[in-house]
């Protein structure tokens, strides 16, 4: 018998098929936190016992945007999408019994990242752990907050200053900390194409690194090497997992290039593209939610299959994210997916399996070309900070295109626009519908707790610390010889030690920096053709205008602190496209603001969007405010609204409720137009004052159809 021929002539034996030693698994995390610091601490400890190897802290929206639980804007949001952390006492409770010298903690925190890191440093101090021992990541990427996620607190310039200060501080004092995670994750959630995701994330990184370079200076030698080496990424992976893998390879090539060329980094360790990942939530469906499990598995492959672009840390969403907040069991399921992949399959046994693949190389090249061209456009706008309006508008357009493809069936979503026949799912059969419901009494408890905290601390010390913070904030960075005290981290840590609260820290800085509203991107969205359904709707709207005397006018806005504005933006743009006048109010509105706008603008219908789970509190509050202002225009609501909450909202007076399964925006528009039309039949007045109850009744019929 002759020796076996290699099945492919390239296989000459110089490529080892296996690694000498199986790779160590990536870090496994679960994005978790809810209700209170104590409840979240218990959850973390259980997760660690289950084999999770790092922590990923989810903060509630008031903490993310810098408000205390007793602030008007915090209403309905306390403890909902994450844990409320108000002061060092809360952070100590959150990390109780978890050795911070050994733990690797990732915090999804941006506008208030400096503050939460300060609280973490103080909590470690109290455990007897020095700050230079701490390991972990603060997300700290503000540009994507302006673009996609909405939890910003300050205008762009001072926000960038805070980031640069944090980088400068951690490189020196907390050397194992990743001060910033450049996020392409949220860009994909907002509709970015792979090319946009790569280009905007890299442009964002350039803005951050340039700001950091200005802060740390070229001295001492090698400081920029260190800074570059500490910047990591947080990416997304969608279900087109082969292209997604190519995307990550393209990002690592661009990153290395950027380091070498723009920042003159030489050490290969510092040039490595390091990223953590949370796979795609945008593609998870409310319909047949069990299908999300296979989507998550495939997306996890995108970030693990090829060794040379494998994730450092992974957290997977839960199967029921489109339904509401996941329970510990749902999150355990996702952790087990990671464990099966890492410990049962052979994925960690090989060198890079795509090396030498012509198809993969061509795919990477295609993405590189596209990304470089788009990065040049951003650079022409003056860099990522200046290009926020451009990028935002581009994302709104991409997302619109994505929705159009799904609506028209060009893009198949199994169980949603195809293969929709289904058996009853036992997964959602329990009383809560298979999700976590946060105890509504938590908010009152937290309000009580923060007031107690404030009454028991050394008030004079807090005031002094905050005054010191304000003073540092007012002073721009001076000459290189200026005292270190001008780094905002120093007075921030002092304020954390003194017992200041999250809301006080942020308010102090808001008073100096001013507040800010990010561009909405909707104004620039291109008009779409008037073919087919859109044309028909436009005719209906024109008829309705005759009837009303004015063009139908809709107010679209997001009450509460939730910044996920994709849905609201798409509704606003489509309403414009069908011929309505659209008052788009953007994010972070109080019920009083919505009521004042509805009244002053004389709108015929109000559309509200909430994804944070705070609809139970906020929607009735908005309805009450509207009635108080004498506005009787019907109200429709969209968002992640669990099935069992729909009926109570209707009873409270909401005319129609739309959830993620209502992907067909065309249908939503038809129903909204019908709703305004029904109101116009009431022998009224001037159109704005439609009869609420009859309109609501007809909408209930429409939405139930």
């Amino acid at each position: 018998m002759t020796a076996a021929q290699p099945y492919n002539e390239r296989m000459s034996g110089e490529y080892p098929a296996r690694l000498p030693e199986r790779d160590r698994p990536w870090m496994m995390r679960t994005y978790a936190g809810h209700s209170t610091a104590k409840a979240s601490n218990e959850l973390y400890r259980r997760n660690l016992e289950k084999g999770q190897t790092g922590l990923s802290v989810a903060f509630d929206l008031p903490t993310q945007t810098g408000y205390d639980p007793d602030d008007e804007l915090a209403r309905g949001e306390v403890g909902k999408v994450g844990v409320p952390i108000c002061h060092r006492g809360d952070m100590a409770a959150l990390m109780d019994g978890i050795p911070l010298g050994e733990m690797n903690t990732s915090m999804t925190i941006n506008a208030t990242a400096a503050w939460l890191l300060a609280l973490y440093i103080v909590a470690a101090e109290n455990q007897g752990v020095a700050e230079n021992q701490l390991q972990g990541t603060t997300q700290n990427d503000i540009i994507k907050e302006f673009l996609a996620r909405g939890t910003y607190a300050f205008p762009p310039a001072p926000s960038m200053r805070l980031i640069a200060d944090m980088i400068a501080y951690t490189v020196e004092h907390v050397p194992k900390w990743n001060p910033i995670n450049i996020c392409s994750y949220h860009l994909q959630e907002a509709g970015a194409t792979p090319v946009q995701e790569i280009a905007y994330a890299m442009s964002n990184a350039i803005a951050v690194l340039d700001a950091a370079r200005e802060r740390v200076g070229e001295e001492p030698e090698g400081r920029m090497e260190q800074v570059f080496g500490r910047v990591s990424f947080f990416v997304n992976a969608g279900v087109r997992f082969i292209e997604e893998h190519a995307k990550l390879r393209a990002m690592s090539i661009l990153w290395e290039e950027l380091g070498r060329e723009r920042y003159r980094v030489q050490d290969p360790r510092h040039l490595r593209f390091r990223y953590g990942v949370q796979v795609n939530s945008l593609g998870l469906t409310e319909a047949q939610p069990e299908n999300n499990v296979q989507r998550i598995v495939l997306e996890a492959l995108a970030v693990t299959l090829g060794r040379s672009a494998r994730a450092r840390a992974i957290q997977l969403p839960a199967w029921n994210e489109a339904l509401g907040l996941p329970r510990p069991w749902d999150q355990q399921w996702s952790l087990r997916i990671q464990q099966v992949l890492a410990y049962e399959t052979d994925v960690l046994e090989y060198p890079d399996i795509f090396e030498g693949s012509k198809v993969m190389d061509a795919l990477v090249q295609e993405l590189l070309d596209g990304a470089r061209a788009e990065m040049a456009v951003v650079a022409e706008h003056g860099g990522a900070v200046e290009a926020v309006p451009y990028m935002k508008a581009a994302l709104v357009d991409s997302h619109r295109e994505r929705i159009r493809r799904i609506e028209e069936g060009e893009q198949v979503v199994v169980g949603q626009n195809r293969f929709t026949e289904t058996e009853q799912s036992p997964l959602t059969a329990d009383a809560e519908g298979g999700i976590l419901v946060v105890d509504p009494t938590i908010e009152a408890e937290q309000i009580e707790a923060v007031r107690r905290w404030r009454s028991q601390r050394d008030q004079a010390a807090v005031e002094e610390a905050l005054a010191r913070l304000a003073q540092a904030a007012r002073h721009e960075h001076g000459a290189p010889s200026s005292p270190e005290g001008e780094n905002l981290m120093v007075p921030t840590i002092a304020a954390a030690r003194a017992g200041a609260t999250t809301g006080e820290w942020a308010r102090t800085l808001r008073e100096v920096f001013g507040s800010y509203r990010a561009p909405t991107g909707v104004g620039e969205a291109a008009a779409i053709s008037s073919d087919g359904e859109i044309g028909e709707l436009r005719r209906q709207v024109a008829d309705l205008q005759q009837k009303l005397g004015r063009r139908p006018k809709i107010l679209v806005g997001k009450p509460g602190l939730d910044g996920h504005s994709n849905g609201a933006e798409q509704i606003a743009v489509r309403a414009r496209d069908v011929g309505m006048d659209v008052v788009y109010e953007g994010i972070r509105l109080t019920p009083a603001q919505i009521a004042a706008s509805a009244l002053q603008e004389g709108v015929h219908v109000v559309g509200l969007s909430i994804l944070s789970g705070s609809h139970r509190e906020l929607i009735p509050a908005v309805l009450e405010a509207l009635r108080g202002a004498g506005v009787t225009a019907p109200v429709v609501v969209g968002g992640i609204i669990p099935e069992q909450d729909v009926a109570p909202l209707r009873q409270a007076g909401v005319a129609a409720v739309y959830t993620p399964k209502d992907f067909d925006i065309g249908r939503i528009m038809r129903e909204i137009v019908a709703l305004v039309d029904a109101g116009a039949d009431v022998p009224a007045t001037n159109g704005a004052s439609t009869n609420g109850s009859s309109a609501a009744g007809s909408a209930a019929g429409v939405a139930g159809a």
Partner: protein, 319 residues
């Protein structure tokens, strides 16, 4: 008749400076429905100078400038200042977006900060008029109606060139807002594309030297045009705000220097002629004996008549 659509009663409430009548009044004034047009005319009659026995008390200010010049931020700061002085403010934000699909996105109000519980502030967004040039008649009507009730009425429009000319037909004071480095405004001024405003505001003074030199260049250009009386102010609406008090003072000074009655009378008569021509065409104007005859006819009318009443006079003579 519902109280919310009774033009006469809404007009009477505005005359009595009842600000809560404003939203319903605007609904009526914007409506093109026949039933509403009649009521709107009654409303406007109630706030006409003849009925008020004076010009409406508000200071009507037109604020215009290119997109991105920082108008919204500036208006937020002005609003806060006026409210601190105890003046009530109505802001009519006219959105430039041409009605590409018929509809429009009115995104501006969210960018202007104010206390929603403050009944002394009203912000209303409207899409730019469908007719070319000139403010929508509804906006002009709205401004004159609100001027009876509020202390300050601001009309915000976007653009350079036509925009400040349009707003000059309604406003006592016209301010053009530019950001540093926008050389086009300088060019427009020199070439006469842009008419000289009453106040020129350079925003983003926090940019320092660039803002200062922009201000200097504009002042020089105005001097060379013989308009050295025009105030050029540099402001920064970002904290720490600067120049806002000076701008408020400049507005007040301009109005104090003005014969408000004459300016508004001329504006009403010009507007009536424009409206008549748009409604009935050039031929109807010729029936009247041409533009000059029409102007002379308008000049003979009672000074207290509102625009719809003046249009009605022209229509009678044209028959």
């Amino acid at each position: 008749m519902n109280a919310e659509s009774d033009g006469a009663s809404l007009g009477a409430r505005l005359r009595a400076r009842d600000l809560s009548a404003a939203p319903a009044a605007l609904n009526l004034l914007e409506s093109s429905a026949e039933r509403d047009r009649e009521q709107a005319a009654k409303l406007l009659h109630e706030v006409a100078p003849g009925v008020l026995d004076a010009e409406a008390p508000a200071h009507v200010i037109g604020v215009t400038g290119p997109p991105g010049a920082g108008k919204s931020t500036l208006l937020g700061a002005l609003l806060a200042r006026w409210r601190a002085q105890g003046r009530t403010v109505a802001l009519l934000a006219v959105d430039p977006s041409s009605r590409r699909s018929g509809g429009s996105l009115l995104g501006d109000r969210a960018r202007i900060e104010f206390d929603p519980a403050d009944a002394g502030v009203l912000i209303r967004s409207t899409a730019a008029g469908e007719r070319l040039g000139g403010l929508a008649p509804a906006t002009r009507g709205a401004a004159s109606a609100l001027a009876a009730a509020f202390d300050v009425v601001v009309i915000e429009t976007v653009g350079v060139g036509q925009a400040e000319t349009d707003v000059a037909d309604v406003a006592d004071t016209v301010a053009v807002v530019v950001q540093p480095g926008s050389g086009d405004v300088l060019q427009f001024l020199k070439s006469g594309i842009m008419e000289t405003p009453d106040v020129l505001v350079v925003t983003k003074a926090d940019l320092g030297q660039i803002a200062l030199s922009a201000r200097r260049d504009l002042s020089a250009a105005l001097r060379s045009l013989g308009s050295s009386a025009v105030k050029v102010l540099a402001v920064s609406a970002l904290p720490p705000a600067s120049g806002i008090d000076e701008l408020v003072a400049a507005f007040d000074e301009h109005r104090a220097s003005l014969d408000v009655a004459e300016r508004r009378l001329a504006a009403r008569r010009a507007a009536a002629l424009t409206d008549f021509t748009i409604e009935h065409g050039e031929r109807a104007l010729r029936t009247l004996g041409g533009r000059h005859t029409a102007q002379a006819l308008l000049a003979e009318q009672d000074r207290g008549l509102d625009v719809p009443a003046l249009v009605a006079v022209l229509e009678q003579h044209a028959q």
